[in-house]
């Protein structure tokens, strides 16, 4: 008689494991993939470089102008205030591009490679697969494309212009995480609709570029686009009267995209 290979089976479970079965293990797997990949360093280096250079732009411009015309009064130079330069650094929105690039390719890459089918054949739900990608990508991008570059930028701003208010820095960090979360959702949603990674990213960037133009044509529209969330928490923390429409629209759009893309994923034929 040959020895048993697999031994006893566990008792069959006839009920569902839950809407997010396997999510914890999938988040751990997706986060490990992030931590082991080179992407994390590329994003950190790129975003930090853009933010620091943009923040230092006023200081550099002042130095160049002073060197070009020594002794003359300097006119029409950018502000050297720490708050303006701290906020100004984020206007590049390079972290949004990073989020669209990364999240837009996540589902397509796995679908093309066959690993999505492999995972989907296991006792996990498609909602778990989607949620794990959202959680790990939002968390990692908020740290390596948000918190760390922002902290470095705040240090550079302090060195060049003086210390920015702490509530502004905290508010910008929160806003940056909120915008990152939105564009990760947006990228994942596009990945469930558009076949091919390149087409997904191109569509995402096009919509990202067109949205402010369309919003500008509508009175009050600029406060309703998701990127308005970037400065909303900082302004609220600074005591400015802010419309609640901005976070409400941000949340509703994000939740809508999430529900839509999870439903799309459930229909995937793998």
């Amino acid at each position: 008689m040959t020895a048993s290979i697999i031994g006893a089976h566990a008792a069959p479970v006839s009920s569902n494991f839950g809407r997010f079965a396997g999510a914890r293990q999938l988040v751990r797997k997706d986060t490990t993939e992030w931590v082991r990949s080179k992407r994390i360093w590329v994003i950190l280096a790129t975003v930090t470089t853009f933010l620091v250079l943009t923040a230092a732009n006023a200081w550099i411009a002042t130095k160049i102008a002073a060197a070009a015309a020594p002794g003359e009064a300097l006119r029409e130079l950018p502000s050297l205030g720490p708050t303006e330069n701290m906020v100004g650094a984020l206007t590049t929105q390079i972290f949004v591009l990073a989020a669209i690039f990364v999240a837009g390719s996540l589902i397509g890459r796995e679908r093309d490679s066959g690993t999505l089918a492999w995972i989907a054949s296991k006792p996990v739900t498609r909602a778990s697969i989607w949620a794990s990608k959202w959680i790990s990508s939002t968390a990692i991008l908020s740290i390596v494309g948000g918190a760390i570059p922002l902290a470095i930028t705040a240090a550079v701003v302090t060195l060049l212009y003086g210390a920015p208010p702490v509530e502004i820095v905290i508010g910008l960090a929160v806003g940056l995480a909120a915008v990152t979360a939105f564009f990760v959702t947006f990228g994942l949603a596009l990945g469930t609709v558009i076949p091919g990674q390149a087409a997904t990213i191109a569509t995402g960037l096009t919509i990202f570029a067109l949205a402010p133009m369309l919003a500008a044509a509508i009175p009050g529209g600029m406060a309703l686009i998701p990127t308005a969330m970037l400065t909303w928490p900082a302004a609220a923390l600074a005591g400015e009267a802010m419309s609640l429409a901005t976070p409400v629209v941000w949340f509703v759009l994000m939740a809508g995209l999430a529900v839509f893309s999870i439903r799309r994923m459930r229909k995937f034929e793998l």
Partner: protein, 319 residues
Amino acid sequence: MTSASAISTAGLTKHYGEVRAVTDLTLDVPSGSIYGFLGPNGAGKTTVLKVLAGLIRPTSGSASVAGIPLAAGEAYRREVGFLAQEPRFYDWMTGRETVAFVASLVPDPATSDPAWLDKIIATVGLADAADRRTGTYSGGMRQRLGIAQALVTRPRVLLLDEPVSALDPIGRREVLDLMAQLRGETTVFYSTHILDDVERVSDRVAILDHGHLVREAATAELLSSFTLDQLRVVVVGATDATGVDLAGLPGVRSIEPSARDGDVRTYLLTIEPSVAGQIQRAVTRYVADRDLTLVENGLVRLDLEDVFLRLVDSKERAA
């Protein structure tokens, strides 16, 4: 569905618009059996396996594993281990991490026991490569890893899509031996186009063609059903009249001289299966009466490839 069915399908159908991949497939796969799923390319084998793995939805019909319906989602997939035709894994994980990750997806601590993981990795012959990244694995190693990850959750049913197609002869034999060892422990439902392998290890076979089930039977029964209608007779000292005489024996439908070597002649008699024994005795008497030497007087045993071709060909002619 019978109580001993590991897999049961009823009227399973998958159509993609005008393309009818699988139509009205009804199967009962006995628990603990090794079940070969045969068919030419495009017959719909992979579609059936993907439906059973929960990767695509059937257009109509139902399927269940161990009594749990496909619609139960993750509870159903808990009972299934699946190996795709071209298995793909995360190339940044090692083989051991891949198996451990799959094991962690079921709520049973025993499946994540390191000793169990070591055993399953060793069983498929990957112990030496277990700590290498899967991105460095050959096709054969990926196939072995695929079997390990399918087995690690101790599923009631193993669904294997062409499990030996990427393997060299030694690897093929090892995997087939492993499948044979699993007999009685779990149900192995696998597709292949290598008919020798099916004949060696399968308890039952189903033949699919153009999305329709052509035949389903125990392997031995299927083979024997095609061995009773042909008789090979080899006679020394035969003349041209011998063939005519043999064709005239009661129960012989037709005769075909298949070889001639000097005065040794070989005849293939197509006969009435129900009177095979009588015809064999009549042949023996005929040869003895004429002082000829009878070298062979036996039923022709077809291999599975012959049976497969006959079944598929007859269906194509009927179509």
